[in-house]
Assembly symmetry: C2
Homo-oligomer: 232 residues x 2
DNA sequence: GCGTAGATTTCGGAT
DNA sequence: ATCCGAAGTCTACGC
């Protein structure tokens, strides 16, 4: 990894065109050839960048660049897509290289897959007298997150699990319900939209379509699952 | 901006929990308090991070940490959400600070707004004898990108413009069409799904619903708009 | 390898 | 301030 602090301007041509006027920025040139251009603010997203696989070539400035005070140009190109990033460097304040080695990577807990797993283990959260048929129940238009069977009679419950529930999730569940209700072995199929947080518009649309909304408490569900009841 | 290359482990607690085992990484501490943890690969997204507003506090390691070889801890917290990032530093290979100043920011060209503007100026691309009613035509469920009027008789055309057209865009347009067709002053309203690239599944769904798909060539439309015909 | 769904999405505009 | 949609989204997973 090479770290450069430089006064530079940047031009990107690819899926769109973008330009960064002359300013002092951090250039991170990673081992895989990728380049990040960061300012001293904003969030984790760089101002501009090139994703791997790509390659960086150092160029001499042309006459126009020389008049502008450019001392060096970096051209970073993605061979396949034709995307190109051109960095015109006017001054280098810092330039160091470091060997970082391979990273073991991130371990996550609490994403949608975890919510789905916990809810599958605790179907009583959805309602009484329900039994899990299966997770990721396959249909022609994609898998239904959870399918439950009514113990007391005919009928099935299809659940769409989201971390954040918005209108798209309701649309998705609606498509599943329409399809599943054509199956006489499953019908009548009712829908439950389960999420840690449900947007108002999504709630309105779901209710309008007879879909029940269920807000999930991940920490509580995780506590139950771990076998550590709150009484102790 | 402070740049640190360090052997460290990282734990994040917030919207989810995440852990990074001990390895050598780049730590970027920006002027706004935010912290990025980068490896020497991957893409522009850091392995872990904390977004502003947040603040970094240096802590002394506890006894367990000392046994593990931790020389220093950084705790980065987001006061409002309670998100917290804890970096356990075992060794610092590099540590420099730099004054970058404020960045003038990125100038973009070729995003959805540009497509929409160009199509509004070139409605003949959609079909003959059509006139623009307005861009961002307001409805109760959100604005329709473009609304056109049929010059030869009754009827309206509603257009959804996307850079990349996938199934969500078709759903969105379908909702608009359903609503607009209830208005006797507009009905019958037909739909056009216009995008630089239309995914096969989206095309199938649109066609099934009687929505016409239109692939847009941004460069060509830009050329026409600039008044520089290709003959010269 | 392609395509789709999720993301600690981030970012910008409009209400 | 909040909500909502776009993004050069990136990334993991299923086919």
């Amino acid at each position: 990894m090479r770290l450069v602090i430089a006064r530079c301007s940047v031009d990107y041509t690819g899926r769109l065109n973008a330009h960064l006027p002359l300013a002092t920025r951090l250039l991170v040139h990673k081992n895989d050839g990728s380049l990040l251009v960061h300012s001293d603010g904003g969030s984790y997203k760089p101002l501009n960048w090139m994703s791997p696989p790509c390659s960086l070539t150092r160029e001499d400035p042309d006459e126009v660049d020389l008049e502008d005070g450019v001392i060096e140009r970096w051209r970073v190109t993605h061979a396949k897509t034709g995307d190109a990033l051109l960095v015109r460097i006017h001054e280098i304040m810092h330039d160091t290289a470091h060997d970082l080695g391979v990273d073991p990577g991130l371990i996550k807990d609490g994403v949608e897959a975890d919510l789905q797993r916990l809810l599958a283990e605790q179907v009583s959260v959805v309602g009484e007298n329900l039994t899990l048929v299966r997770r990721e129940y396959p249909t022609a238009i994609g898998p239904v997150d959870l399918l439950l069977r009514n113990d007391d009679g005919p009928g099935t419950v299809a659940i769409e699990v989201k971390r954040r529930g918005d209108i798209d999730g309701v649309e998705q569940l609606t498509r599943y319900l329409e399809l599943l209700n054509r199956d006489p072995l499953l019908a009548p199929v009712t829908g439950v939209f389960a999420a840690q947080e449900i947007k108002p518009q999504a709630r309105v649309l779901a209710t309008d379509r007879g879909i029940r909304c269920l807000t999930l408490d991940y920490d509580e569900m995780k506590g139950v699952q771990s076998g550590a009841p709150r009484l102790f």
